[in-house]
């Protein structure tokens, strides 16, 4: 079965979620990838949406935002934003799952300011819940397009903390746990070096070369000793994605892109 790069990215991301895990899910591709995991290998995963929703079944309809009405119907708990953040802060959320505008080699994410924040070149929307997911979940999944201007040696502004300047930075600044588990892109998967915490290429998508990854990465790429090729999506996974995003709004899968995407 044919698949788009976005579809492979979503499938690869979904496979990072284990069954029974509690996942706090950002808008856009994370919603889709989490729902895919639920529909395939992680039926008992629990989804937190920080407008106040906890679901253990994926929404039956396509979601443009986590607050869309179908996301609430059949939810397990609908409560305050603070209550979900409290459980996150307690350490009860296994996975934070967000998109990013810019990420650097230590997994720090910028969704706030390009340029100095006092002299801003491009104003991005800000944290939303992303900085909280990155600060407080056991591990963070980040999903974004692999472009040199997005994967930078050092981000201009840390909105959502990765490993800061590497090594034990998180512990030193007082963060209780966490850090990027996997950065999922349209070219491959990157995971932190256990010691330095620099992101390394750990899985490369089919028909992508290491050179191509390096060309699209804003720092000197390190490749894991155990580099693998990303397994392709199964027909079941593709069908599940397309049932949720029938017009290819997020994944360019089947239909045309109806609206301009960021």
């Amino acid at each position: 079965m044919d698949y788009t790069a976005e579809e492979l990215m979503v499938v690869a991301a979904s496979r990072e979620i284990k069954d029974h895990e509690v996942v706090i899910v950002g808008t856009r591709l994370p919603i889709l990838a989490f729902s895919l995991a639920k529909m395939t290998h992680a039926p008992n995963a629990v989804g937190f949406y920080d407008c106040g929703i906890v679901r253990d079944s994926p929404s039956k309809e396509f979601l443009y935002t986590m607050g869309d009405t179908p996301n609430l119907t059949g939810s397990q708990w609908c409560t305050t934003t603070n209550n979900l953040m409290f459980l996150l802060q307690q350490g009860l959320v296994n996975v934070g799952f967000i998109g990013g505008a810019e990420v650097d080699k230590f997994g720090n994410i910028n969704t706030s300011y390009i340029g100095d924040y006092k002299e801003t070149k491009v104003k991005l929307p800000g944290s939303g819940g992303g900085a909280d997911f990155a600060s407080l979940s056991e591990r963070l999944l980040v999903i974004m397009n692999h472009e040199k201007r997005r994967l930078k040696d050092k981000v201009d502004y840390i909105t959502s903390p990765g490993y800061g300047s590497g090594y034990n930075w998180r512990e030193e600044v007082g963060l209780p746990r966490g850090g990027v588990g996997t950065l999922i892109t349209n070219l491959g998967l990157m995971t932190p070096n256990p010691e330095t915490k620099e992101l390394e290429l750990a899985s490369i998508h089919p028909n992508v070369s290491i050179e191509e990854v390096q060309e699209n990465t804003g720092w000197e790429l390190k490749v894991s000793d155990n580099l693998i090729e990303t397994p392709i999506p199964s027909p079941e996974e593709l069908e599940a994605i397309r049932s949720m995003d029938p017009e290819g709004f997020w994944t360019g899968g089947r239909g045309k892109k109806q609206y301009e995407r960021k």
């Binding site: 305050t80 801003t120 104003k123 929307p125 939303g128 900085a131 600060s135 600044v173 609206y259 995407r261």
Partner: protein
């Protein structure tokens, strides 16, 4: 108990003053009180500080209209369509004028309201340690725990001058039922000095008192109650309206440049006399209405 019912125009005119801090959009993506924002713009309120964790395009349009001096938010843009172009123009180019930004995450925003609701100067959190949000918003201070060794962020209390909050139904004394996404609505209702409720339906006090656990806030915290069906358009409200996705996407396309935004503003706000006229302009309005009924299981509150 006397009635708090007012028209939208009366409520905004009487309770929102130039320079006020105004919270709108407490449920994050749904139940955003757009009707209140449009009325504020029609009444040409100025120098507002707008507060919301995420309020979708509401913040962007008010910034573009020049009503905003400062935003206190976690996210400002267009949730399903991307960036907020007015926000970018204001910050990057000072069009229509520069604005101040007080950066938060959704959690620190929620905590600041909770601290305001609790009546304490701050609440502690472990979120945001190591981030540059602590630099661009120096009100978020870092320190050692007064009772241990942990490093904590101290989030100062927020007590907005006014919260404009949406609910499915309210009575004229200020009792109200809100369901579906709650977000930070209750924290906002308890923390704010004045609360304007926009209600899709006005019901009897008896109806509200039939389910006191679902009530948003005690009546005395509510300043004004406005009967305003579809106040949330284009955002959704459980049981009442679906999200009007195209409206958000059209907004994104039509507001990329300043002229486009001015046209948008004229069409949807300044040339519209009232909320009722606005609703009449929405061609898809009937399709957006939620028509099916999926009721909550019965609950017996009997005492004997």
């Amino acid at each position: 108990m006397s009635t708090k019912l007012q028209t939208l125009s009366e409520a905004i005119s009487e309770h929102v003053q130039d320079g006020d801090s105004v919270l709108m959009g407490a449920c994050l993506e749904p139940i955003i009180p757009f009707a209140g924002a449009y009325e504020i713009l029609r009444q040409e309120k100025k120098n507002l500080t707008l507060l919301a964790p995420i309020s979708d395009i509401l913040l962007d349009m008010m910034i573009g209209a020049g009503a905003v001096q400062k935003v206190v938010t976690a996210w400002t843009g267009n949730v399903s369509a991307g960036l907020g172009y007015n926000y970018r123009r204001a910050v990057e180019k000072g069009i229509p004028h520069k604005i101040e930004i007080e950066d938060h995450s959704n959690f620190t925003f929620g905590l600041s309201l909770l601290a305001g609701a609790m009546g304490v100067p701050f609440l502690p959190t472990k979120s945001l340690l190591g981030t540059d949000i602590l630099k661009s918003n120096p009100k978020l201070q870092v320190g050692k725990s007064p009772i241990g060794e942990e490093t904590l962020v101290y989030v100062p209390a927020l007590n907005p001058n006014v919260a404009i909050l949406g609910v499915q139904r309210a009575d004229e004394t200020g009792g109200a039922h809100l369901w579906g996404n709650i977000g930070v609505s209750q924290d906002a209702a308890l923390a704010s000095k004045k609360v304007i409720l926009l209600a899709d339906e006005i019901v009897s006090k008896r109806t509200i008192e039939s389910d006191p656990n679902r009530v948003l806030a005690p009546n005395f915290k509510v300043t004004s109650v406005v009967h305003c069906p579809a106040f949330c358009h284009p955002s959704p409200m459980q049981g009442y309206y679906k999200r009007h996705h195209e409206f958000f996407h059209d907004y994104g396309k039509e507001t990329k440049d300043e002229t486009g935004f001015k046209n948008w503003l004229n069409k949807w706000v300044y040339s519209v006399g009232s909320h009722e006229e606005y609703v009449a302009l929405i061609q898809e309005f009937e399709e957006l209405k939620i028509k099916s009924e999926v009721h909550a299981e019965k609950v017996n509150y009997a005492h004997q």
